[in-house]
Symmetry: C2
Subunit: 301 residues, 2 copies
């Protein structure tokens, strides 16, 4: 796959997805008069701070891949981005990873204080499920999406991954330990993005399941690439403080096998993700998902 | 209503509800091998610390009132208690109310550290929606329950109330400001308990709406009574540190109008709650809900 093409198709999809979900999130934030002002501002600070909007892009592409519309998938795209944003807010807290900088801006607790940052995260997490449940898809599909999102983000998923990440600090970075953290901390939510998208988009069991496997492999590829970026980038490139993984003794793929092997592993995982899309042949959305997998490991931030 | 009777019928319902939901929560905690051990222990520490289990009791009573079973309502009862527990864990954090004692035990962050306490709260909050979505009720009813729970617990509800509570510290305790906090911080989730219970239990719109009004009035009564308890109890009676509201300059009903007027207001709100149950006549579950309203303002802890 030529690099030019990767940038073209997936890049356009990312830009369109970001525009769609940001407009919807902005409207959502603006239509909640009952949210206390300081809380709304804190939620907005983190939710509208930019970022790749990879999860919404995955939700939309998965929905389109199974014949659904972006409109049907929109509540899912919003919910995924809200959950992702809450996780960044809480992970950045002083008691957790203690980061001051995120996407080139002060983190939520630096800008609004710890109490409001905790609440902004709680609010985004809770309301993600409310937004998801506004979907006009069949109620049984909405219920499936709620279960998937909760499973991937909860104590057995992302929250559990963050706990393993904290527990592991300073421990022995075996590939096995690192992958267990990556699966939960990052891959589960990327898996949820494509599962939620295809569920809301009208996919059948085989399609949803294939996309789930794609999402898990993509997620692992993405996190291994993240480990590489943390070890090799500057703060300017990254929009956040680099080198923190090593400083904090995190169990990363780079710590386990070094930068070069980690790069190769990320590429192999991206290839594996694409294998799971074979069942969809050459549909345009499958091409977008393949290119997103390539981008996940080629990105600079 | 005689005091003896209050203890008898509502007391039995509370005990049965607590036994049911505690058994279900214990089984749920024990059947999640993918939850990291430290996180599971922290969740268990707070979830199984006892307490009145008022919200599950409301869920069950509301379901029964509309002709549903406790079995159908159980995922709702579990979800409400999980959300309530997460809110206590996060409210107790040093950056929030900074409490060391809860239900006579060390708070979650004292026992497990701040990071794990934040994650235990996040996990319970997230998984509450996953548990709710396991309900065997019609999917459209589950979707309604998810929306209600998210609305009542999110940035326009409980999370927003906690923000107002923090923002208001040291401010002017007008009745209006205090009631705005109480509505969001406490009443919204009690309202959700009866709405979720009646939705899962098969209630029609009129029934769900009447129960929602009952829940809101009950919730306000409960919180005004809480303000009174904080001002008048000992730590032994309360199972947590009393007098903290005044110490922290919280906007409470007691600060606004004094203890005696607050007591009268709580009783009036409990009576108002009962008025909303008239549509249900003398069904046994209506009696339980009336007695729970009385208990909410007569309790000693």
């Amino acid at each position: 796959m030529g690099k030019k093409k990767v940038v073209t198709a997936a890049g356009r999809h990312l830009a369109e997805s970001a525009a769609l979900v940001e407009a919807a999130l902005r409207e959502w934030l603006g239509s909640r008069p009952e949210v206390p002002e300081r809380l709304r501002k804190a939620m907005e600070h983190s939710l509208m701070a930019g970022g790749k909007r990879l999860r919404p892009a995955l939700v939309f592409a998965a929905a389109e891949l199974v014949g659904g519309t972006r409109e049907a998938a929109l509540p899912g795209a919003m919910a995924l981005e809200m959950i992702h944003t809450y996780s960044l807010i809480h992970d950045d807290l002083p008691a957790m990873d203690d980061d001051d900088l995120r996407r080139g801006k002060p983190t939520c607790h630096v800008a609004f204080g710890e109490a409001t940052a905790i609440l902004a995260g709680d609010g985004l997490l809770t309301d993600a499920f409310g937004v998801l449940a506004t979907s006009g898809a069949e109620p049984a599909r909405v219920r499936l999406a709620v279960r998937e999102l909760a499973a991937s983000a909860g104590a057995e998923g992302m929250v559990g991954g963050q706990q393993l990440d904290l527990d592991g600090e300073g421990g022995d970075p075996t590939v096995r330990a690192v992958e267990a953290i990556h699966e939960k901390k990052t891959a589960a939510l990327l898996r949820a993005a494509v599962v939620v998208g295809s569920a809301l988009g009208g996919g059948n069991e085989v399609e949803i399941s294939a996309l789930g496997r794609y999402g898990m492999a993509l997620g692992l590829a993405f996190q291994v690439a993240d480990d590489v970026l943390d070890a090799t980038s500057t703060a300017k490139e990254l929009g956040k403080s680099p080198g923190k993984d090593r400083e904090q003794g995190k169990l990363t793929y780079v710590a386990a096998v070094g930068v070069e092997k980690a790069r190769r592993r990320a590429r192999a995982l991206a290839d594996e993700a694409c294998e799971h899309l074979r069942v969809f042949g050459n549909r345009p959305a499958a091409k977008v998902l393949r290119e997103l997998a390539a981008l996940a490991v080629e990105r600079k931030s």
